[in-house]
């Protein structure tokens, strides 16, 4: 047993930290810290900065422009970027489509598409969920019918995150309606400029616009846009869901939010004294910190096992459940800490001196409501429990 990172890994952490200190633009950092939505240019700027070091495609091999990191390095990078209030990477191109193409794409697809992900030419979004196919993704109905050298796509996708900034979408579509649900699905790439596509915003509970609905009406896509074989889409989708989940627990975000909560509870006066001195509130913080220390080590154990190939299958589900619950708990405590002052609608653009709460906590209620998504998206925590249960109770 040795819970220490190696000297090399610690040196790598220092390198990442120094880079972030020197290169993360302050205006972007401030938006992340204040829970202000980032605009398209913010994401593009940040991706371009990371790419100056080949750090954007964190899971990609060196020959395709990635850094060639191992699991520990990716973990350290994820944790440090979260701690520094760097933006989350827009995962759809670099963390999702990239690895899929590297495993299933043709040489031509790799050569054409991968460089455009890294240099920011393309912004990919994801067409998986449908109104009738969420947790039960395999029941998706969007149809792609072969017509000569094209497919003709009809249907609707939803919850398409940041689709408003995208020019491309990768979709799961049904190519064989007669086959068993999982066996008639294909994975296809679509240019959002193609006639017949309409994207509509979905406004979220706290008022933000980060997801969309995408409607496909007789959209013609060349057969060469298929990834893998026809009707092999489910295998690809499953690969995507199990591939590279080192940061799924979000421990970096939790460590960061815990530290910020402690500062807030120190600054906030409740019942005549700093909130942190209230033993009932301090207990909540302390228990969350204990849970967080445990998930950090669980996360490292999983990393270590997957580095040696001993991982047994449901770890990513476990990390997702526990990790999201801890982040949501911290969001909830931060909201609670503000008391009555949590009330203002953050989009009100109040004068800077209007409220007396710290700038980075002003949107705490909005952030809390928005982050209820964490236990819903990417396979809801209920679905993750089904995955674990299937494993625990099998044969």
């Amino acid at each position: 047993m040795d819970l220490q990172f190696t000297k090399e890994e610690e040196a790598f952490r220092e390198e990442v930290r120094t880079f972030l200190g020197e290169n993360l633009p302050q205006d972007i950092q401030r938006k992340v810290r204040n829970n202000t939505p980032l605009d398209k240019a913010d994401y593009e700027t940040w991706h371009a900065i990371l790419q100056t070091r080949n750090w954007l495609g964190a899971t990609w091999p060196v020959e395709h422009g990635g850094p060639g990191w191992n699991n520990y390095q990716r973990h350290i990078f994820g944790e440090e970027t979260a701690l520094a209030y760097a933006p989350r990477l827009v995962a759809f191109g670099v963390a999702m489509l990239g690895p899929v193409l590297l495993k299933f794409g043709t040489e031509q697809q790799k050569a054409e598409i991968l460089p455009r992900i890294l240099d920011g030419s393309d912004w990919w979004c994801q067409g998986y969920s449908e109104p009738g196919a969420g947790s039960d993704l395999a029941s998706l109905k969007t149809r792609a019918v072969r017509d000569g050298d094209d497919y003709i796509i009809n249907g609707q996708k939803t919850w398409t995150t940041l689709g408003q900034h995208a020019n491309k979408i990768f979709c799961l579509v049904r190519t064989d309606p007669a086959a068993k649900a999982q066996e008639g699905i294909s994975f296809i790439l679509v240019d959002l400029d193609t006639p017949g596509i309409e994207m509509r915003p979905i406004k979220l509970i706290e008022g933000g616009h980060e997801v969309n609905e995408v409607f496909f009406t007789d959209v013609r896509v060349p057969v060469s846009n298929l990834v893998g074989q026809e009707n092999e889409g489910w295998t690809i989708a499953k690969y995507l869901l199990t591939h590279e989940r080192t940061n799924i627990a979000g421990t970096g975000f939790a460590i960061r939010d815990l530290a910020a909560l402690k500062v807030l509870a120190q600054k906030t006066i409740r019942n005549g004294k700093p909130l942190i001195e209230d033993p009932l509130f301090a207990k909540e913080i302390a228990e969350t910190e204990i849970d967080l220390e445990a998930i950090r080590v669980t996360n490292l154990r999983v990393l270590s096992e997957s580095e040696t190939g001993a991982a047994n299958g449901y770890e990513s589900s476990m990390l997702k459940i526990k990790g999201t619950v801890i982040v949501q708990r911290l969001n909830s405590l931060t909201r609670q800490a503000l008391g009555a002052a949590a009330a203002p609608f953050p989009a009100e653009n109040l004068p800077a001196n209007a409220m007396t709460v710290p700038e980075d906590a002003a949107a705490a209620a909005a952030a809390y409501f928005n982050n209820r998504k964490l236990s819903i998206f990417g396979g809801s925590n209920e679905i993750q429990r089904n995955i674990i249960a299937k494993d625990l109770f099998r044969g």
Binding site: G132, N271, D278, A340, F345
Partner: protein, 350 residues
């Protein structure tokens, strides 16, 4: 023992439920709740005409109710309809004014001619009147009041301030306010007092204010019970209708049990609110109100999280009414002292 509403209260409840159901479809509600002045002035007046405000004070003070169960009857219906009208501010204001024998102001409020807001809490005095720092001297108020419910567009701002060691109540129509919508709808404001001229209504208002705040807390508890009732129905309907894996998700026992727990928690909240209502204004009133607000505060947060989770992505959307109920319920815990603050009171009273 009799847990039924009196005939008068049942009639008020029925009338109000019908009126609110007709008047506040979710689009109308959201339009009013999220846009200045963050309520619907014409509907506020109609609610006054229906007797809603009169129910908040006793006959001797110019109303026709004034007991705990009058307050819970009205607020449960407001909660069901997710009504954005600033009745919490009105309830607390009219109660404190009635207690201080300000009969002219009470009459103007009960009839809906004047709408009040009660400016009590401050950035560093969010729970207890004794922490208040705003001062009154030589006919002028100085200090700052934070998150004053219903202040946008209010006719009367009632300000709690200290004159020496005494906590008094002062009326101003000249305060500078910074208005905003709240995240769950409805309006509030920061009230900035800088030698602001004001009239003294009482320089010894602490007891009346504590009682008015407790009436407000009781109202919030009942509002939460009404809102949770509606949300439980919405959640069950959605689960029955939502098909995944070839069947309605309502058949999954793991999900059913969570809904069962929600239903039980509503009844617990209803019971503790009934208890608090029955004791309002009597000995130990404050303790029972604190118990109710603590249990409701603990329940609403978990309840709202479960409602959103059981709806999946739909529960996260602005378009879905349940999302606005969930926000309102959660933010009830932020009003007039959260579960933690109430728990301290119960621990000290025990």
């Amino acid at each position: 023992m009799d847990f039924n509403l009196s005939e008068d209260r049942r009639m008020l409840s029925d009338t109000l439920r019908r009126y609110l159901a007709e008047q506040y479809d979710i689009e109308t509600r959201n339009q009013a709740a999220y846009h200045a002045p963050f309520y619907a002035p014409a509907k506020y007046t109609e609610l006054a005409d229906l007797g809603v405000i009169g129910a908040f004070v006793s006959e001797s003070a110019g109303g026709f109710g004034g007991e705990g169960f009058d307050i819970t009857t009205v607020f449960e219906e407001l909660g069901r309809a997710l009504c954005p009208e600033p009745m919490l501010a009105t309830l607390m204001s009219v109660r404190v004014l009635a207690d201080l024998k300000q009969s002219t102001l009470v009459d103007e409020i009960v009839t809906g001619q004047k709408r009040p807001a009660l400016a009590v809490f401050e950035p560093e005095a969010g729970e207890n009147l004794c922490d208040i720092q705003a001062t009154f001297s030589d006919g002028k108020l100085t200090g700052r009041k934070s998150v004053v419910y219903g202040a946008p567009n209010a006719d009367l701002i009632l300000v709690v301030a200290k004159e020496g060691d005494q906590i008094g109540l002062y009326l101003t129509e000249a305060a500078e306010t910074v208005d905003y919508a709240m995240i769950d709808g409805g309006g509030a404001a920061e009230v900035i007092l800088d030698d602001t001229p004001a009239t003294c209504l009482s320089n010894d208002a602490q007891a009346a204010l504590e009682a008015a705040l407790d009436a407000g807390r009781l109202g919030l508890c009942a509002e939460a019970v009404g809102a949770m009732d509606v949300m439980l129905g919405m959640t069950i309907d959605y689960m029955k209708q939502r098909q995944q894996f070839g069947r309605s998700i309502a058949v999954f026992q793991a999900l059913q049990h969570r809904v069962v727990d929600m239903a039980i928690e509503i009844e617990q909240c209803r019971s503790i609110s009934v208890l608090a209502a029955s004791h309002l204004g009597a000995a130990h009133s404050a303790k029972y109100v604190a118990m109710a607000k603590n249990l409701v505060g603990r329940t609403v947060v978990k309840f709202s999280e479960e409602v959103i989770q059981l709806h999946g992505g739909i529960g996260m959307t602005w378009e879905y009414p349940g999302a606005h109920y969930a926000k309102r319920l959660t933010m009830i815990d932020h009003q007039l002292g959260d579960a933690l603050t109430q728990l301290h009171k119960v621990m000290q009273a025990a």
